[in-house]
Amino acid sequence: MPEPILRIENVSKRYGKKEVLRGASLTVNKGDLKILIGPSGAGKSTLLQCINFLVRPDEGRIWLEEKEVHYAHKRDLYAYRQKVGMIFQDFNLFDHLTALENVRIGMVKVKGMAKAQAGERAVAELERVGLKEHTQKYPAQLSGGQKQRVSIARALAMDPKVMLLDEPTSALDPELIGEVLAVIRDLGENGMTMIMATHQIAFAGSLASEIIFMEDGRISERGTPEKILFQAENARTREFCAKIAEFYGEKR
């Protein structure tokens, strides 16, 4: 029996006259890995940022665990964001804090945990993403792949119900992509519910519970990886999948 964790209904966003997101709806069940694909400017990033209200949607409603999010109430909004982990394309680690402090600060300042206890948890999360040796380093002393893994540890430390990943490997050098994907794969295998925008088609094909193709601010096609990658109904979807598969040098 699928257990819905996150439900998004009819979310829209305009910037001036430009509609960047037109009525996106999505139901995410526990343990799902939903992959968003589509050309740049399709609204993938806006959708992800609308889900945790980093971008205020103009319309639409969102439910987490069957409870509607009243984002105009600050208390509700802050409580909700704690449960929704966010991974950014360009990491956004806090530059003045060490890896350990980056992971610890949310637990201490938002959840009110004691520093020592939060520190232990932070070390455990950094170990989990393979950064045991780097806890005392500052972001500027880490590689891109390491930074992204710290940011994943930072999100995990908050015990999120859902994770949103906005092209987590797009800013990385090719040889560093694998280490980050391995961590994400691991999360998926351990039952983490995730929505991820990515161009890593092979990764999407092997792990996604559903692939969602977006263009012009709309969800234009969705289905199993087999369907979207090999038998898409929409010509645009087929064309796009063929192109990125070619660009990323992946066999189909």
Binding site: H96, Y138, A140
Partner: protein, 225 residues
């Protein structure tokens, strides 16, 4: 000119007492400017439009009126009109502090704006309120970036503090003037006053340079290093 040297030697302890007054005025003003300047900057960057406009007017007011006019306005004007009895020394710190808060707010505003937007986004995504995000994420980074601008502000206030002699604050300039007009040793005395200011400028900017190095974030690349 042994006469001149004797005049300097005689006046030096008296002038150095004045430098203590100068230092207290400058530190007081810098401190007041910091306490007011940080919230002003935060308000101007993140506040509602009405608040931003109000801060804009405040900054315009204190940057737009000459120091001497403000000193007279507050000391002879406002203090009399409101019937409050403040010493010239106190008024000097308040006026220099208010002016400095206007300038410092712009130093901090520039520093805040130079941070990537993602820092605030990441903090919000963790569930931080804007107040927490600004206090724990934005300001610790912005204040570091503000140190070079702050060093500039220090040297300006230090020199501006000499104008408070017009209210009778017994700082370096007032004392140099007092002795010079009585002994007719203008050249050596004003020269000495200038040298004391140079030394104070050097000490302050040097100290801030050391602070800048001390709080530098490891691994961050530095120009020219």
């Amino acid at each position: 000119m042994p006469e001149g040297l004797i005049a300097i030697a005689d006046a030096l302890p008296y002038l150095l007492q004045g430098s203590v007054v100068t230092v207290i005025v400058v530190f007081g003003a810098m401190g007041l400017g910091l306490i007011l300047g940080v919230p002003l900057a935060v308000g101007q960057v993140y506040g509602r439009p009405a608040l931003r406009r109000a801060i804009g007017v405040y900054v315009w007011f204190f940057r737009g009126i000459p120091l001497l006019v403000l000193l007279f306005l507050f000391y002879f004007g406002l203090c009399t009109a409101l019937d409050v009895n403040l010493s010239a020394f106190t008024v000097a710190i308040i006026v220099l502090g208010l002016i400095s808060s206007a300038y410092q707010s712009q130093i901090f505003r520039g520093a805040i704006l130079s941070l990537p937007e993602g820092q605030l986004k990441a903090a919000r995504a963790l569930g931080m309120s804007d107040f927490k995000a600004i206090s724990f994420i934005v300001l610790p980074q912005a204040l570091r970036l503000a140190i070079p601008g702050w060093s500039n502000e220090y040297s300006i206030i230090l020199k501006d503090s000499a104008v408070t002699y017009a209210l009778g604050v017994a700082e370096i300039m007032a004392r140099a003037h007092f002795v010079a007009t009585r002994t007719y040793q203008q050249l050596p005395l004003y020269f000495t006053a200038g040298v004391i200011f140079l030394i104070l400028t050097w000490m302050g900017t040097r100290g801030l340079r050391v602070l800048e190095e001390k709080v530098r974030i490891p691994g961050y690349s530095q120009h020219g290093a």
